[in-house]
């Protein structure tokens, strides 16, 4: 089985820790090893590019250079924000020689040459392309029968680069949902913005965006939203009670990571997958499975 370098990012060490726990557990069970990039730094997210583009790019590129120095295997970046920041730095450096010179100069002084030869991958891609649907199907011991899932992609793994899936008609989450034995529901906003950082900065606008998504998933009679991004998961999950009060609508719905969904179908227990760390625990129609 292929091995990968791992870029956790800051969120997976914080409020997004259920993502990290479930990702590591599922990958381990599938026999894939993830090696954390030694002394990685923040990807810069959207904030650094708003303040200083050169530094933001150098910041992200340092991680790519560290990965090259480690052994040049593909990087798995589970957080959508990190995935995009690293992908974007790589693309921008390749496109703009000026930027390349700045990166070479800055990283070169730290003794870290940058060649641009590592690939940045999202775990969804690794699961469906590298591991493959057949092996995943074989690993499923407890199909999540009658579990209706609203797949939610967010923005950054689809736009602007479309490396993971089509920006207009994404289907990988639906495919994974079917592999897990659950039923993907169709709804119109599966790649619409969750509110991003606006839920902290301009809360009235950010919460409205989250509300639109929750409303759409509820209208489609989903049992849970399955997402790929720690910021989306946070925005859709933690403000539910407040939104129920302010909108007088029932917007309560569990919001889980795709790794948790797959792990459940693989028969792992809820603690291993950190499902007990979610605000709302998804209720499965099928009987509780065995131990992982």
């Amino acid at each position: 089985m292929k091995d990968y370098l791992y870029f956790p990012g800051c969120s997976l060490k914080g409020a997004g820790s259920p993502y990290e726990k479930s990702l590591l557990a599922v990958f381990r069970a599938l026999g894939i090893s993830l090696t954390e990039i030694p002394d990685w730094n923040c990807c810069g997210a959207t904030a650094y590019l708003s303040v200083d583009a050169d530094m933001g790019t150098v910041l992200a590129a340092r991680n790519l250079a560290l990965a090259e120095r480690a052994d040049g295997r593909d990087i798995v970046a589970p957080c959508s924000g990190c995935f995009l920041a690293l992908s974007k730095a790589k693309a921008m450096i390749a496109e703009y020689p000026d930027l390349r010179a700045k990166v070479d100069d800055a990283l070169g002084r730290g003794g870290l040459p940058y060649e641009g030869r590592v690939a940045v991958r999202h775990p969804l891609e690794v699961l469906l392309k590298d591991v493959g649907p057949d092996r995943l199907r074989k690993s499923v011991v407890r199909p999540l029968k009658d579990f209706r899932v609203a797949p939610y992609y967010g923005c950054a793994i689809l736009r602007p680069y479309e490396t993971v899936d089509s920006a207009h008609v994404p289907t990988v989450l639906e495919e994974l949902t079917r592999i897990a034995g659950a039923t993907p529901v169709d709804y119109p906003h599966k790649a619409r913005c969750c509110g991003g950082m606006l839920t902290t900065g301009v809360q009235s606008v950010g919460l409205r965006l989250a509300e639109i998504l929750l409303d759409a998933a509820k209208s489609a009679e989903a049992d849970a939203i399955v997402t790929t991004c720690p910021l989306c998961q946070y925005n859709l999950e933690v403000y539910q009670d407040r939104l129920c009060r302010s909108t007088r609508k029932d917007l309560r719905i569990p919001v889980m990571y795709f790794t948790q969904m797959l792990g459940l179908a693989m028969g792992m227990d809820e603690r291993t997958l950190a499902i007990d760390q979610l605000f709302r625990v998804p209720v499965l129609a099928c009987p509780a499975g065995g131990r992982a």
Partner: protein
């Protein structure tokens, strides 16, 4: 009765503004805009903006520097890239919003919004520790966003803490943050020394 001029003459505009935006990575194709409005239509937050993305692009090209740099729009942009993907002329509107944010921070001198303050706090924390500690960032955001908003976060923080997703005492940092600081300092060293004071691209007394 005081009479106010309601239109801008060409002499009131900043003739170099569009070129400065276009010179930044991602800004080049701004000249190709056909003002179709697809960006404003697809943007999930354009209805909260003072200047829609289409108008921002049009006004940048026309040289409305002050209006654009003082607009709220770039700070409402969530970087979802919907406009960039949909633009029939392949203009990277999200990147142009980033360019405007950076110029506004450097040149417009004031921000009406908490967003740039949050971004600056984020950057400062990363420069110090190499990583972001969400709990500390949350406290900083709360401090900047007013009492009501801060109080609203208390039940959420409590629940996150109970679920083991908020560790108040732990600070995320690299083993060796100096190595990152050295790299970032190298970027600064390379820059041309003085920021062009006085040449803010506002010829002929733009600011009334």
């Amino acid at each position: 009765m005081r009479l106010v001029k309601t239109v801008k003459y060409e002499a009131d505009l900043d003739a170099t503004f569009a070129e400065r935006v276009a010179a930044q990575p991602g800004g080049e194709r701004i000249w190709d805009c056909i003002q179709c409005g697809t960006c404003s239509a697809i943007c999930p937050v354009s209805l909260y903006m003072d200047l829609t993305p289409r108008r921002i692009v049009g006004m940048v090209r026309a040289g409305f520097r002050d209006e654009v740099l003082n607009a709220v729009s770039p700070w409402i942009c969530t970087s979802c890239y919907a406009c960039t993907v949909e633009c029939p002329e392949k203009i990277r509107i999200t990147d142009i919003m980033y360019v405007i944010k950076r110029m506004a921070m450097k040149e417009s001198g004031h921000h009406r919004f908490v967003v740039p303050a949050i971004e600056e706090a984020f950057v400062a924390m990363v420069r110090k520790n190499g990583r972001l500690t969400e709990s500390r960032m949350g406290i900083k955001v709360a401090a900047k966003s007013g009492l009501r908003s801060a109080l609203g976060m208390v039940p959420i923080a409590w629940k996150l803490w109970r679920k083991g997703r908020l560790r108040l005492l732990r600070v995320e940092r690299m083993q060796n943050p100096e190595s990152l600081r050295g790299v970032l300092a190298a970027v600064e060293d390379r820059r041309p020394a003085p920021p062009r004071t006085g040449s803010r691209g506002s010829p002929a007394g733009v600011k009334a």
